[in-house]
Symmetry: C2
């Protein structure tokens, strides 16, 4: 994607989350490889009281099901009608996953609807799409968030799902230079960790000269 201004990016890695749209809205946790975990991360990263964070992009890396890996990208600057409830978010992601590009486009990501794009590819496709930016991974053994050196202008945060990062993903991120950051003394749900990171970034931005 073309980046023209300061931007926060969150990359949520769903080890088993489905990359195909054939899950049931009436039983998202049981039929989607726990896509619900990732949907809640979208809300935590993108939505604030009565609005969207227009400076934030969320990637959902979907490692489960026959079409994996695929990635859904949601851009707060251009997304429309993003609602906070899980079912509405699931419908939006389901529609994006139903997109069948005739041929792989050069850029990788295909726009499914305003602000929501999908790509046939996983972490490598995301790293290509990200371009420059300070990479951080949320990890309970990392440096404390409140003390950690972070780029508050264009930070990228990688977040594991309920299964955490697998060894290959962790190695790939470390090789890409990602620093490890811990949000606190208790191991939190991914979406709560994102909420805590956003709060820290909001505070640093508010206090920036």
């Amino acid at each position: 994607m073309i980046q023209t201004k300061a931007m926060r990016r969150f990359v949520v890695i769903g080890q088993k989350a489905t990359a195909s749209p054939d899950f049931l809205l009436g039983d998202i946790p049981g039929t989607s490889g726990r896509l619900d975990v990732l949907l809640r991360c979208v809300r935590a990263a993108l939505l604030v009281s009565h609005g969207l964070r227009v400076d934030t992009v969320v990637y959902l890396v979907l490692g489960g099901g026959p079409r994996a890996p695929r990635t859904v990208r949601i851009d707060g600057a251009s997304a429309r009608y993003v609602r906070p409830d899980e079912r509405s978010l699931a419908v939006a992601v389901m529609k994006a996953l139903a997109v069948q590009p005739a041929e792989p486009p050069a850029s990788g990501f295909v726009i499914a609807r305003s602000g929501i794009a999908v790509c046939d590819g996983g972490l490598d496709a995301v790293l290509t799409d990200l371009g420059p930016g300070a990479l951080h991974m949320l990890d309970e053994h990392g440096s404390d968030l409140r003390e950690a050196r972070m780029d508050i202008t264009d930070p990228v945060f990688f977040v594991g799902d309920h299964l955490g990062f697998d060894a290959e993903t962790r190695a790939r991120l470390e090789a890409a230079g990602a620093s490890s950051i811990s949000v606190g003394p208790v191991s939190l749900h991914a979406e709560d960790a994102i909420a805590v990171v956003c709060n820290e970034l909001d505070r640093r931005e508010a206090n920036a000269p």
Copy 2:
């Protein structure tokens, strides 16, 4: 309730959230007076990675619909099978709201199932049930959370829904001695504010002598 050990309590005030079980699981936001907002607060307050916070109790004050006000109380110490997704939480609350006590019991709250109780009453019933404890209300104009004086042993936090606190509730809480606390420079969803508060409490507990 009988309190025998340190406990965190969150009271989420749903101005329009339904106090009756006749909402649709397929459209929670559209049929329940935005009960979805309160359900997400339950997850944020009670659930951590692979577990429950056994030291936490959540009250949902339900001010909407013909049976209002009623309150659902969920106790992390005795609740079983609390799942993080909105639909599962909605089913649990729906079942609690379907409880019809034959007569009002002396204690106010009726156990619907292990760890989940319901009461015919709103904020006043909650204040009675709470007993002693330092009262705080989340308010964007309050003292900063990181600097605020808080009892980390038995704190009680009152949280508004997407509509905030109405004037009557605010006056009632101020009269009860609640101090106002702000979680940061950006106005957050109620569940994200709870996640940030929990993180601050986790940190203070970890650093307590």
